[in-house]
Amino acid sequence: MWVVYTLNGLYFAALLFLTSLGLNIILGVMGILNLAHGSLYAIGAFMAAWTVIQIVAKAPPFVLYLSLLSGLVLAGIVGFLMEKSFIRAMYKRTLEYQLLLTFGALLLLEDVIKMIWGGQAYYASAPFDLLGNVDILGHVYPTYFLFVMLITLLAGLFVWFFMGRTKLGIMLRAISLDREMATGLGLDIGRLSTFAFVLGSGLAGLAGALVVPTTPALLGIGMEPLILAFIVVVVGGLGSLKGALVGALLVGFTRSFGIAILPEIELPLLFLIAGIILVVKPQGLFGR
């Protein structure tokens, strides 16, 4: 059973990591805590589910998996629109305004999702079913979860490579370290910020898209991921990729084994970990 507990921990950690990645990037590069992060996750989920439902009868399996990316794309587009329309206007203002704007965006987007997709549930289980199960040391484990872990790994590697090795990424990191200096060096803050916001939004959408084969897209689906992403950011440290990874693994494994051994503690456990970190090392494990 311990094999399965470990796999479960890895799966949940993967979800946490991917969900918090977008939030962390926007926070790190732009210093904005995007409260609408959960809404972008939800948009990704609804879009992916809807797309899969439309094409499931006619498309070959490969296209089906590709169609999940539609969630990433739409979330990115919405992020772009958000940034251009009102987030942008607030750079000169203070933090309060930015937080309030993203809060307003959250409320707005919740209803926009309802206007577009209505109140019913969207089930898109084909990608989950098609992959079937594998047998791991005598235990049945759905292959789809391994797929999610793979995609998350790829996404993480992409971001790591991008931030560390590409010119664009380095510019983004420069902005996150010292905005004024970066402007002084001639970086186009506006364009770069938009890019960061779109990247973060797209990642949120991807996280949402990946879960819909196992859980229906429903109104309010983004609320819990927002809180979880938040916890990981707090535990791992703002703006730190390594921190996000370690934080996600820590929370994921603690939860998985915690449920098996001491089920009562489940929800408060996550907050407890966050609370301890906040007291002991308030900037998070790897935060600045």
Binding site: E96, L107, M115, P268
Partner: protein, 322 residues
């Protein structure tokens, strides 16, 4: 002056409004107290907390828990000080952790801590009623029991005056605080932390004081709110509820003393009428917030003040032109 006149007018409000409107107004008054407290931290000290629902919940649950476990002590004269005490205690603990940081860290910490309280209130359901919450019966006041009368009668009678007096007190005390040297120091910290430290202001300590005072006001508002609502749930500590507190303060304008009061009353009506008239009320509230931030960053009161100032300047200019 003007405020005394306003107070006198408010004394007559129960005769002017219907019971329903009066109850709505009372919600507004309790949130006005909350707003005043919250704005000490936001407007005057420059710290934005998306977690002040925790103190509201502290005050509210103090009332609820006493109702449940200590019914003999269920008297307004005990409940109000108790609510102040518990919200103070919570504000000291959470505040101590939060004021070590500023800006985004502060906001994140405040949010996280309030969610921790939310999780506890939700989870310990045998104690707190969990998601079901706690019922708030009518309290007694200085020996007078209100058993047998219905809540609307209670609210439109004695309770209104109690609330009004406490609201007036809150205004007076808060005005005193912001006008005092302490209040000025807070503004100095808000405007330039480094300089404030250099001229000898103990930044962290003052922030903590501001945090605690604001927590107490919010807790008082929470406690007073419980009698109007009749029921408390863990949602009060959820960050979305805290977000509403921020919204109200912004709506009225956090640069002006009276801003949060106006914002609180406006928001109460805004939300109710949005919910009463459309199923897309969240869109309405969200869009209003965005428009507000972009166009009226000083809030409704701030916009009035600017308009008034502009008119005054124009008159003065015209006057001097003659």
């Amino acid at each position: 002056m003007v405020y005394v006149l306003i107070f006198i007018v408010l004394l007559f409000v129960p005769r002017l409004l219907s019971i329903h409107d009066l109850m709505l107004f009372e919600y507004g008054l309790t949130f006005a107290i909350v707003g005043l407290g919250f704005n000490l931290l936001l407007g005057y000290t420059g710290l934005l907390s998306f977690g002040h629902g925790a103190y509201f919940a502290a005050g509210a649950y103090t009332v609820g828990m006493i109702a449940k476990y200590l019914p003999e002590a269920y008297r307004l004269e005990i409940l109000i000080p108790a609510a102040l005490l518990f919200s103070l205690i919570l504000a000291v603990i959470f505040g101590f952790l939060c004021v070590r940081h500023t800006k985004i860290f502060f906001s994140i910490l405040a949010l996280s801590l309030s969610m921790l309280l939310y999780a506890l209130l939700f989870k310990l359901y045998h104690l707190t009623g969990g998601s079901d919450g706690l019922r708030i019966p009518l309290p007694s006041l200085l020996g007078i029991s209100f058993k047998g009368i219905r809540r609307p009668e209670f609210l439109s009678g004695t309770y209104y005056y109690v609330l009004l007096v406490l609201f007036a007190f809150s205004c007076v005390i808060m005005k005193g605080i912001v006008s005092s040297p302490f209040g000025k120091a807070l503004q100095a910290i808000r405007d330039n932390e480094v300089r404030a430290e250099l001229i000898g202001i103990r930044v962290r300590r003052y922030r903590l004081y501001a945090f605690c005072i604001s927590g107490m006001f919010v807790g008082l508002g929470g406690a007073l709110w419980t009698f109007v609502n009749g029921h408390v749930t863990a949602d009060l500590s959820h960050w979305v509820f805290s977000g509403e507190i921020v919204y109200m303060t912004l709506l009225g304008g956090f640069g002006i003393f009276e801003g949060p009061i106006i914002g609180a009353i406006l928001f109460t009506y805004l939300k109710l009428y949005a919910m009463g008239n459309t199923q897309y009320w969240m869109f309405v509230i969200g869009a209003t917030l965005i428009v507000l931030v972009m166009l009226l960053p000083n809030g409704v009161a701030g916009a009035f003040v600017s308009l008034f100032a502009k008119l005054k300047r124009r008159k003065a200019a015209e006057g001097s032109a003659c």
